[in-house]
Symmetry: C2
Subunit: 344 residues, 2 copies
């Protein structure tokens, strides 16, 4: 099929393989006429050097990988997009490893990626986002990080020295609550997110803390956790709205649940933001797709991916990039939040 090698080229050009290699890699001077001859034969056969053989020697593959939980959740394509774009510019190709949040699958991929000798790994979500990552899973990652550059995006690992790029998720949550407080809201609920994920609890705690500073709190029946899906947002919001004393504002763990919350609210015949204000998180493209457009917290998702690659690249180059890179979140006020309704 593709039996044509550098030897075939060499023979036909009547030079040695090293010469062919030299024109291929521009690694030493070659006489112009020789180079031309070689080049034309390469062209003629559409010869493509075997990257496997080259990588075997050079100990670099020009390949990096990203491990993430769910590419169909619009947050991740955005990160990927930023990462891929940067990586391509730096000469890398990307493995995309979708784990479905399954930790075994994470381990599987980790193992495969080591065998395939990727130059580095970007790890998102999953075990890295757990409130309490089990010792062995953390260990596995730490071990690998000893041998292979790894960058965690928006995650953390207990007592680990792995490099990280992340937004200050708590600060983003604070921004959102303050916005609601400024609008006069006092009855605030929190909706969505798995309790075991730090993405969820980081926000919950930040909200609680901020409210406390204002002499307020989230009562238990207004703290409704679940998953990150539209459906759960809808379901939980319904519960909230059916309570005797419904909140005037709801902070959601992400845009997906916020959209579910919007749907539930409207189905209950209420108006946004007149009756209820809703704020999301992530500023995915969905945020401007819904009516009313969603007030949400931007994490600079694209930038997150880009920076992760930059750090990874420096790591690969054996430079010493800073261990932590943080991005400031930003509140994007749109139409789903407004002044608190007058007291009933």
């Amino acid at each position: 099929m593709t039996p044509i090698t550098i030897y075939d080229i060499a023979r036909e050009a009547d030079v040695s393989v090293s010469t062919v290699s030299r024109v291929l890699n521009d690694t030493a001077p070659v006489r112009a006429s020789t180079r031309q001859k070689v080049l034309s034969i390469i062209e003629k056969h559409q010869f493509q050097p075997n990257a496997l053989a080259r990588s075997l020697i050079k100990k670099e593959t020009g390949t990096i990988a990203i491990i993430l939980p769910d590419i169909t959740n619009p947050f991740f394509p955005e990160v990927f997009s930023g990462a891929e774009n940067e990586a391509r510019g730096l000469g890398y190709t990307f493995f995309l490893c979708n784990t479905g949040g399954d930790h075994d699958r994470e381990s599987e991929y980790l193992s495969i990626l080591r065998e395939k000798r990727v130059d580095g790994i970007i790890f998102l979500g999953g075990r890295v986002n757990l409130q309490n990552c089990p010792e062995d899973m953390a260990q596995e990652l730490n071990d690998i990080a000893e041998r292979l550059p790894i960058v965690l995006v928006n995650g953390n690992l207990p007592k680990s020295r792995i490099h990280r790029v992340y937004t200050d998720e708590a600060a983003g949550a604070v921004l959102a609550v303050k916005h609601l407080l400024d609008l006069g809201h006092r009855e605030i609920a929190f909706v969505g997110g798995l309790q075991k994920m730090s993405t969820t609890m980081l926000k919950v705690k930040a909200v609680q803390k901020t409210l406390k500073e204002h002499g307020l709190e989230i009562p238990k029946d207004r703290l409704l956790l679940g998953s990150f899906s539209i459906d759960d947002g809808k379901r939980l919001m319904s519960e909230l709205l059916e309570q005797d004393n419904r909140p005037t504002a709801v902070m959601c763990v992400n845009d997906y649940t916020a959209i579910g919350a919007i749907k539930a609210t409207i189905e209950h015949g209420l108006s946004i933001p007149k009756d209820v204000s809703i704020v999301g998180y992530d500023d995915t493209p969905l945020a401007t797709a819904v009516i009313p457009e969603l007030t949400t917290v931007s994490q600079n998702t694209y930038q997150l991916g880009k920076l992760a690659v930059d750090i990874l690249h420096e790591l690969i180059l054996q430079k010493k990039p800073r261990r932590n890179t943080t991005l400031q979140p930003e509140l994007i006020v749109r139409q789903s939040t407004g002044p608190a309704p007058a007291k009933i």
Copy 2:
């Protein structure tokens, strides 16, 4: 860093490299005690065989690639998801190549993937979706397909023998128009999509043909093409609504533009579906995220990805899968379509 090889293992276990290789690959019987010894040493050193060296010999990498235009467009993650899930089961890892619809980038990736010796390629969108794919671009793909398994998803290439998996997009459009006709609509418009893409024109033509069979047509000023974005859907729909004689139903090239159309409609103070019916295409997760929920055509996106991998896998195994695999689209009726309003 990772200087440990099969030789180190062999030496320490006091066996030959071939024995180690045998226990690694289970390629020939090895005495149980020997196997145990080798295994324990492998374990001890966390040894991972170098897949590059192996691939170099076996001429297979266990890697496939997907080339697609835009992973942030929710249609593609869905395809990818179906593909990845199937591929993982078959032992493949996935390169994701995002081209932004840029044909040069497609070529670049094609070249890199050949060098990296991927086992096969799935190609989506871009040149494969052009109404008129330039000869040279088609040629490039055909050439590669001679040497490397390729499957096109929802695309086509003039006089090419490349394998394809696709939904009958025209049939889907017909389903949608008939639905509108059944609801009594006679004033139907088409919105969105690049004219140069076959995804667009396939639908346009199908709609025109169906209307013609009913003595109807889409007048020029009701055929507004553009891009595939939410913004363009919104912009074009606005144009439509500002015409003297606005249509009662709009068929959109995809869900993204349909959502834009919904936004424009509501901003114009009209009600959906009472005043205007809107239908999308693709049945992305967005379709149920908006209010009203979108009537749309499902392409079985996930299945599309899965099947593409199945066909690719057979090709890799040198089997002879059928050249064309089609999937029937399905109309999903939700809330954005309803009876045509009484004549004005």
